[in-house]
Symmetry: C2
Subunit: 392 residues, 2 copies
DNA sequence: TTGTATGCGTTATCAC
DNA sequence: GTGATAACGCATACAA
């Protein structure tokens, strides 16, 4: 004769009834001073009491309607091969009828996969980053992944806060483009240790061991600088971002290489770091114009500042490109609108986003996929802001 | 002597042991032909067997470490008043030590709130919508909500697919800006019936009963048109979007009102619907220029087309604003860069996004908050593209 | 082929 | 003040 065994001490002799709790028989083990109930009783009362909790159709509703078990329904809807065609058809038909939608939360809790990616990006005001995001979103949604976004507003603190906000098991992977301010990376390293796949793009740090997606920073800078040299420029000012950024470093490197190739002397006075604000751009340009040998070209590593430069030069009645050539980097839409139109290097922002998402998705889907860094090829776009007849 | 009761028939006499399954005692009710096990046994073996499943610290881990129950830990971490200070401190300290992070999935499953908003927006390539999204994201994140984005790419089918993809219980509310193509709204109505809070913004449909956030469509169009009239223009071509869009209708209405006010005859030939493509804009402008009495102004309801118009007129060597004034609507960044700079109506895209998010969040947080439509005030920005000396 | 039980990690309810 | 456990909705190992 089976008896109830105390779950603590495993004995049956010491167990006695101890009243009814919520309509369930409750037991008590004298030996361990331990109260407990039996599972099945509660199952039963649950099934009887629940009409329908949240209003949504659940597997249980379908199971009851069809007259099968929840697991059968689950398997049928997932096209499990074990389930007979007949049952599948019946279940799917009822599911449709009841407008069943799986509860992704419950699924995720079980499968430990949310089909959601997080993106942290400096801002969305500019087409530049927005287009990257656009690429990310398109690729992700094609692969059946949602995209959660956060803007760091180029603030380190916000970036850190964003990471934390995203990290509550709600995302399967993270895409990262650092804020201008960010120069420490513990907030990412922590998450990396937790095992979440991360890919950095555009503004990356090699200090963090993740795959990265770059644009052609150095090569692009070489192409732009060489082009300006070929246009006859010899005093090329370069407008960089904050010095700690890798894009600043690598583009400066490219600039140097091009000058060296043409044996043009380097002049530290021609290198300026700006924070991309109008004020800082104007002041750098001012400095350059007042040098003993003033600039005959400005190469800005952002189109935004290049446009600001053109506008400023025009305001000063300095002719572009005749007196000063201007070139940007990035290929934003504004470059086509400014007059003269802007020579720039198309980094292909949309493609950067797409490649980044693909890289991350590959890592997520194919755990042991080799994930190496990717460099997105760009190309030089020569427009009027640098086209000038050579002073032979 | 307590005995195991069959969960089906509630009898105890018919129950007998039926072997050990996965280390648990299994029972069998002869009467119902029903096999079952007892709950507590499995609990016990679980606790012994599981080391740690996903690697993440859970409440159970903390409970074990501190020597209290899971419920106590949960309450302590939620600052429940019942828990003693001492216990709270102990639990929180261990929680920190174990780097505990609550599993938002599990929380959401129980609380039925994901703290996530979905946004469906036509695109992200243009600053226009990206800035709205930016506003939405800022407000949401301040309120502790995540934002999931989808672009419809101005395709109705994609818009519909997006809704479905977002709707798996993963979001608490939905923000909607329709695609250009969309003119049926069943996909939203279905979701509305399910009880999910929705707010439409910018491109809205009154056919769907949700709160809406508008910009000053009619009033803005009145202001722009009046301004052009005051500049001496009498033949003002208006460049609308697809005719089914409410923004087309309302802005046309404003245009008419302004003309009427100044007793300027309406000419249907001066009203054009375009799909915002370069080609369609050029062709409309061409038509207007070849009228018997050609246009002396173009009012485009999008800045993008206004810029295209200016560029085209310049290409045709038609002077802006001397021969033809141009005005846009929206205030995109490009309007400041084009030459002459574009007169436009600032609809304040960022603010539209913010107001939209606030409206939705209010509805979510405050179930019975009255949620009425909101119109975001904008203002006319007069720039060179319309400033001309009056022909008195 | 189908059903049963269990677990995912949390909150809420009730008992003590 | 604390503990036990049901429940959220689903997937799945195992039993039948």
């Amino acid at each position: 004769m089976p008896r109830v065994v105390c779950p603590r001490c495993e004995k049956a002799e010491t167990v006695q009834k101890s009243g009814i709790v919520r309509k369930k028989q409750r037991f008590y083990c004298k030996d361990c001073n331990y109260h407990f109930t039996i599972y099945h009783e509660s199952i039963k009362s649950r099934k009887k009491q629940k009409p329908n909790s949240g209003g949504q159709t659940s597997l249980l509703d379908i199971a009851k309607a069809v007259g099968v078990s929840v697991s059968t329904v689950s398997r049928a809807l997932n096209n499990h091969p074990d389930i007979s065609e007949k049952t599948k058809v019946a279940i799917k038909s009822i599911a449709k009828e009841l407008a069943y939608e799986p509860n992704a939360l419950a699924q995720s809790l079980v499968t430990r996969s949310t089909h959601t990616l997080g993106v942290i990006i400096p801002n969305l005001h500019t087409t530049f980053f927005a287009t990257m995001l656009s690429g990310i979103q398109h690729v992700s949604s094609q692969a059946g992944y949602r995209v959660v976004i956060c803007q760091s507003d180029d603030l380190h603190q916000t970036e850190v806060a964003n990471v934390q906000a995203l990290m509550n098991n709600m995302i399967d992977g993270l895409l990262f483009c650092h804020s201008l301010e960010t120069s420490t990376f513990d907030h990412i390293k922590i998450q990396l240790r937790r095992g979440i796949p991360i890919v950095q793009f555009y503004r990356v740090s090699l200090e963090v061991e993740t795959p990265c997606v770059f644009c052609e920073d150095e090569n692009g800078a070489i192409q732009v600088t060489e082009h300006l040299i070929e246009m006859g420029c010899r005093r090329i000012g370069i407008l960089l971002g904050p010095p700690h950024l890798m894009i600043s470093k690598k583009r400066l490197e490219g600039y140097y290489k091009a000058l060296n190739k043409f044996k043009i002397p380097l002049d530290p006075k021609l290198v300026a770091n700006v924070d991309f604000s109008t004020k800082s751009v104007h002041s750098s340009v001012d400095n350059w114009l007042h040098l003993d040998v003033p600039v005959d070209a400005v190469f800005s590593i952002s189109d935004k500042s290049a446009v600001q430069t053109i506008q400023y030069l025009k305001k000063l009645h300095i002719k572009v490109p005749d007196t000063v050539c201007v070139a940007g980097f990035g290929n934003e839409y504004t470059g086509e609108i400014i007059e003269p139109q802007l020579t720039t290097f198309d980094v292909r922002t949309g493609l950067i986003g797409e490649k980044t998402a693909k890289l991350l998705l590959n890592r997520i889907i194919d755990q042991n996929s080799t994930s190496e860094n990717v460099t997105v090829k760009g190309h030089l776009i020569v427009r009027d802001s640098s086209k000038r007849v050579q002073h032979l």
